[in-house]
Symmetry: C2
Subunit: 409 residues, 2 copies
């Protein structure tokens, strides 16, 4: 068992069959990373007693904190409590406060208290109860050999609520010494970057580490340092050398996501954005508006899927569409210009492309990103070679990244 190491176990056949896409593991990995805790495994399991027992046991062997989500529902395919009773011993007891809360929730919805509901108030006597302010099943906390295991409901809102109110404060008390710095390098291949930084990274002292996190058109260098093992001065010195090695490259240092960085930057400089989407169908707007505070800088978006709509809503000249087709540099630029005028924003971003073999497509995944402000306009062409979903996701990433690069200039 290693100190500050966490394992996550997400229980539910809906996850292992892909019926539902995981959100809890994703949420927890980010939250734990923020706290400076290392996730050493995150496992999805079906609702299967024997599998849960062995995977949870393995997780306890390798980590100091085990977070289990799911398997606490009222139906007969939910086993988490049984498994934990098995592992930690004790017997079921009825938790009074939980029962009160269940009665109250049911009363609010005018539902009777059934035997099945009542069972949700039963908890293993070996556990401490953590209240669930957002639902019926409470979380439970167990101790083992220097570590803790916490079982939480799988409903994302309930899990998040319990994590934020009950767990984050406890876990924060353990750590606070591990820091991260994210340095994005644009337009350099990972293999070239890694060759250039190899002697630097292999000479890093104990307590300092580099990870390469490559994405579309950039590589994020993620430098972690543990201030209990390496001083701030030594850290700064190594970082300084890294900056020297990256001189001349386009870089961005931020721990924010790109959409959050865009919203923050636009807010700071007092500028605004509007988006016209063809092939990305609203997903670029969606990324921007997912950021808290986006309403102050995002003027609006329009999804003009057809040529007719491009003409009518964005006043793209028919002649332009006929001469170059909708998937072209002139149309991407015209859309970017038109949308900033339509919505009265500083910047306009536009996407147009073929996401699969259709219409005039020659390759699978061709996209033009148009970007305009009052003075300038540009278009950027990418061939993505994915399937439909992949092409759309990558087009969104490309549009966001390209606009970010514009803001950096």
């Amino acid at each position: 068992m290693l100190k500050n190491r966490v394992s996550i176990v997400a229980v539910g056949t809906e996850l292992t069959t892909g019926f539902v896409r995981d959100t809890n593991m994703y949420y927890l990995t980010r939250a734990l990373d923020d706290l400076g805790l290392e996730v050493c495994s995150a496992t999805m399991l079906p609702d299967d007693h024997a599998l849960m027992r062995s995977v949870i046991t393995e997780a306890m062997q390798r980590s100091q904190v085990v977070l289990v989500t799911g398997g606490l529902g009222p139906t007969e395919d939910d086993f988490t409590k049984e498994v934990l009773l098995d592992l930690f011993g004790g017997e079921y007891r009825e938790d009074e406060k939980t029962l009160e809360r269940i009665k109250e929730l049911l009363a609010r919805r005018n539902l009777p208290l059934t035997e099945i509901n009542r069972r949700q108030a039963f908890v293993p006597s070996s556990a401490e109860v953590l209240p669930n302010a957002f639902g019926m099943a409470p979380a439970t906390l167990f101790h083992y050999d220097g570590g803790i295991l916490v079982s939480m409901p799988g409903v994302p809102s309930e899990m998040r609520g319990i994590f934020e109110t009950e767990l984050r404060p406890r876990l924060a008390a353990w750590t606070g010494q591990i820091k991260h710095k994210q340095l994005y390098v644009f337009g350099v291949a990972e293999s070239i970057l890694s060759a250039r930084l190899r002697s630097w990274s292999t000479a890093l002292p104990q307590g300092m580490a580099l990870a390469y996190l490559p994405s579309m058109g950039n590589v994020c260098l993620r430098i972690s340092y543990n201030l209990a093992l390496v001083s701030q001065d030594v850290t700064s010195e190594h970082l300084h050398t890294l900056y020297t090695l990256l001189e001349g490259e386009k870089i961005l240092e931020t721990n924010l996501s790109f959409p959050a960085y865009i919203v923050q930057t636009l807010t700071r400089i007092g500028k605004t954005l509007a988006v016209a989407e063809s092939c990305t169908g609203g997903l670029v707007s969606g990324k921007i508006t997912s950021v808290s505070g986006a309403s102050k800088v995002f003027c609006g978006g329009i999804c003009t899927y057809t040529d007719t709509l491009k003409e009518r809503e964005l006043r793209i000249p028919k002649t332009l569409l006929e001469k170059y087709t909708a998937v072209s540099t002139p149309v991407a630029e015209a859309m970017a210009r038109a949308v900033r005028e339509k919505f009265g924003s500083t910047y306009g971003v536009a996407t147009t492309g073929y996401m699969e073999m259709e219409g005039g497509a020659n390759v699978t995944g061709e996209v033009y990103i148009g970007i305009a402000d009052a003075q300038t306009v540009s278009a950027h062409h990418f061939i993505l070679n994915q399937n439909r979903i992949g092409n759309q996701e990558w087009s969104v990433e490309r549009a966001i990244t390209q606009f970010l690069l514009t803001l950096l200039d």
Copy 2:
């Protein structure tokens, strides 16, 4: 080791820190479920040699197929090959075909062949090489005690390409006997449904199983049956009883996702859709346009974030906005009506709400969904009580589900 059981191991610190959201495990769980294979664990791991070794060993013990993604990059924090060499023995050999392909890919980008690139052509001699048509690092296949382990690159497009061309055909040859049926029940709580179906589900024969997959406003009953263990006749008889037990409820039988079902239905009945979004910022359009063939039924979308835009782009009367505010039944209905006129579609769907405590919000997460066709219009109000991201995701789900219900009527 159990027959037809698969474990997935996704390697990468970018996953366990939440820097990148997993897509490979999600893709593979769906694909394997389609094939009738049971995923008994899906684990994300950091780039850590010892952890990879122990988790991969555990996976081989519990399943007949182990799919490993990631850790094949050219940088020094990629260890998968080393770990597999350790586990399966042998030595590195240079794979000629792979080297040729790498040279070709580099030549196309006008890049020289570096030592780091060349290393990607080295494979353990104990492995069979599966070519990677979309990138540099090939996949490798190892045999163990009646099972196979396949190591694939973590880049989603490369992983998907290799899975579809090399693995799906091999795996399909093993199965084909397990079938699934999905039955959505709307507006009944999981606990009530499970009480009603308990005697039915506990009497199911060997080879037939029921899982409850609850989501927003519906519970999906997923019935799996293995035709090697239970006959088609017996299966049909039990399904018939299930339908009788559900009489009077609003149900939908489909193995499609809701957006795919909507696109399929609109195509079949020759109707079209347009979307006006305020609080969901383009994400409803995004869900619909992610479906292949959406362009035939989706006329367009607009994201009107501000009152001014609602007035100008959708001609929502100022008086209406002043009297009821933008987050109200009359405005949701007016938006739905306006957007179907604007884009000339059969149906209009609109969203307006507060995703966090802001402006006139009294609760966190309040949304109105408006739905209009030529004759009728309706609005549906929900209080979601999530954080911003959660409220937005749930609003999107609610809009999609509500429109689906309209189509079912």
